[in-house]
Amino acid sequence: MKQLKGQSGQERVGVYVCHCGSNIAGVVDVQQVAEWAAERLERRGVVIARDYRFMCSSLGQELIEKDIKELGLTRIVVAACSPHLHEQTFRIACQRAGLNPYLCELVSIREQNSWVHEDKNAATEKAKAIVSGGVERVLWHEPLEPLHVPIHPATLVVGGGIAGIQAALEIADAGFPVYLVEREPSIGGHMAQFDKTFPTLDCAACILTPRMVSVGTHPHITMLTWSEVTDVQGYVGNFTVTVRKKARYIKTDLCTGCGICQEKCPKKVLDEDFEAGLGYRKAIYTPFPQAVPKYPVIDGSNCTYFQKGTCRACEKFCPTGAIDFEQQDELLTLQVGNIILATGFDLLDARRIAQYGYGRLANVFTSLEFERLSNAAGPTDGNIVLRDGVTTPRTVGIIHCAGSRDRNFNNYCSAICCMQSLKFAHLVKERTGATVYNFYIDIRTPAKAYDEFYQRVLEEGTIFVRGRVAEVTDAARLPGEENRLIIQVEDTLAGLQRRIPVDMVILSVSLQPRWDAKEVAKRFGISCSSDGWIIEKHPKLDPIATMTEGVFAVGCAQGPKDIPSSVAQGAAAAARVLARIQQQEIALEPVRASVEESRCSGCRICNNLCPFNAILFHEDRMVSEINAALCQGCGTCVAACPAGAISGTVFSNEQILSQIEGLLLLNQSEPTQAEMVTA
């Protein structure tokens, strides 16, 4: 077995142990750690070791800078918090003092030590080991330079819901080109299906459609509806995106959007998408009257001509000859510098919550069905009626958290259901005067003017029952329950079981990731949580970026969100993209993997492992190569390469193994033995 030769003696190392107030110093004897490092690691090159209250403060950083200049330090080890938080801080401090920033190593004695241990002596000993590992590791660091790549000024926005619309408009208004790709025939997303928006009860269409129109007419926005991204290659600043533009069977340059085709089409189709299964559309259709673009699409799987070969009614009646049955899907190749994903959410299939009877009991509705039912432009013209289409309910039960906060379905809170259910209660009350029960676990109304809305609904006389509904049934047991839906619930405030007969039940169904979210994430080289939501770069400090440079995720694609938050995220991502475009180039972290060509046998083990598609195989030379700009330094290929031909900067074998030796305090033994090279 090999023993690695440390490079002690050649480097001058400074060790800085942070108290982090009492976060670290409360558990670890930081002074002892610093003194230990100064004495016991002196032979390993440590020339100074200090402890300080807040290393990340200006004064703390100045301490390092001063030592670099005065003591001629060539390597820095800071023992503090996670590199995620302050690695950049200390690197920049080094840079200010004229030391290459990558010659600094931040080791965590907070997250991995003081926060997880109670035994102070053991934690102090562990901190020493961690510092020792950091010192051994930093000896192998090399000065690195960031990679600079140019930024293409165009941006791809995927998803034409409110978050995507906001992002697209912000960027286009600043004068830069945007491609907005939408899977459905029209932009607008879920918001276009709503009637009112909480808490102000603005008409959704009134505030959304002007934005949609702006997108449709914007000189800098290329709108690609009825289209999907099929492939993404490249890296931040230089993505090449392939978009499949599905055949609409409409010549959009001739179509005026007059709607005659939709009137004349003889084929009625249940509209499962926009009308949530409550209404009908034709085989040639625009999902709703204010659709943008105005052009319809022909749904080939339902069109009589496509299925049976005759009909062509739309073609006959079209006044401008805009129908084209021969149209084919088109593949477009786009060059963009940044990508914003705003792909939205799906609703949990309410049929899965068998005890609530959706799909089995006619008058159990989903939240989206109710949105359409209450929408003035919806299938009932806004009349809130039972499934028979005529009867107005006298009693309505609204069930919060249907499938949310439930280990059988989704563990998380869907965030919007409380406010949505309060809105429903208000609308039912306002339109029908019915008695309304809201069944909730907790009421969560934390945003601006939300709790005031809750108070308003309370005052309107909605009855709130705290408890998770056990069952919705039509099996009458008591007088007054016949021909009604009975909600069985434990009222946890009253402390009793209740059976409440109602005419209509509305389920505030859990939001969940798009059915193809994981596939989409893979296509864009980003990752999803186990739930399927896109993972943001940092949940607090970088909530719209992803771990892949140049790819942002906004709105419900990364978790349940209300409209204001989705809009704010869309705008935030736009601001980030605009800043990038203005800079014209971006400096990338030089933490990259590279292939040593002479060692690569071209075995191709690594070829399909890279989550960022950074590995190319050269058939002619039979070697693999890593595109440095695409590589994110994740190390997957480094671990997989059986020939050891791939190495990762900052994570070389020497760096990792010597850190282990340091952690195990093997560097404490006599120099002759530790430095013996037996290779």
Binding site: R599, R604, I605, P642, G644
Partner: protein, 341 residues
Amino acid sequence: MSANNKPKFAMYWASGCGGCEIAVLNIHEKILDVDANFEVVFWPVAMDAKYKDVEALPDGAITLTLFNGGIRNSENEALARLLRRKSQILVAFGSCACEGCIPGLANLSTRESIFEAAYASISTDNPAGTQPQVTWNAPEGELHIPEFHPVLRTLDQIVPVDYYMPGCPPESRQIAIVIDLVLQALRGEAALPPPGSVIGAGQSTVCDECPRVRNLKTIKRFTRIQALGSIDPKLCLLEQGIPCNGPATCSGCGALCPKAGAQCIGCYGPAQDVLDYGARLLSAFASVIDGKDPSEIERVLDTLPDAVGQIYRFSLAGSLLRASKSVLVEDEEKHHAAHQY
């Protein structure tokens, strides 16, 4: 082989099969160069020699020693230390000396179970149940035989080694190249590689020398080559589900096995600078398994026949693991006992 001022050469066979000795002879007429340029002072297979003759040499007197075989017993160990002391260049020659090779697989078994298998299993005719004893009082006096260590060690786990020459056995072509290099170096016409280097091998892995066609790999199951009805003669064996060790094995053999339609079993050891052959190989295999969910990956890995034999056939003793836990414990106890006396 008369005594003269030619550089001195030695070759020693420790715990190994002897194939390395044959491989040296298999260099054909090149062996005459050895004889012409070296004085062979110690080579038990080729000529009579006594340990005391070697002991009598001044330290560093032997220019080049090729040491094959692992360190299985006290005699192997004593000779390793002796030859280290007497040699300027000590080469761990062949897989056993480099990384333990097949004898190293015995590191999975305790001494007791090894003796059991060797002296008491059904294939052994040993009615008296005789087992080796370190000392024995024979009528002629007390006899000693070498003590069998609990753990087989590689040469460099006992003494510092200058060069490693992998292979089971090293290819004769490579041996000839190395001998030429040493001769040139002795004449001052070439520089020897830095100490610790692997010599007589390639820079890359067996795939580099393998002519089979390679595609993107996804493995749905592993299977033994003999269990397949037919194999594609042109396609990468690993892609056909045959656990070929080529991707992780140091090049230099010329991909003899895959060219002949058999999978590489890894006798040339790890690629240069790879610390643990089996870990690398397993990591590579695991990386190309077709499956995302852990149970599926586990199912595919379970189809890998004889996992230890597959990934550590030649390198267990030299790996980070070295031996099974019970064997290491036994070894530890022996050392502990030795210190007490």
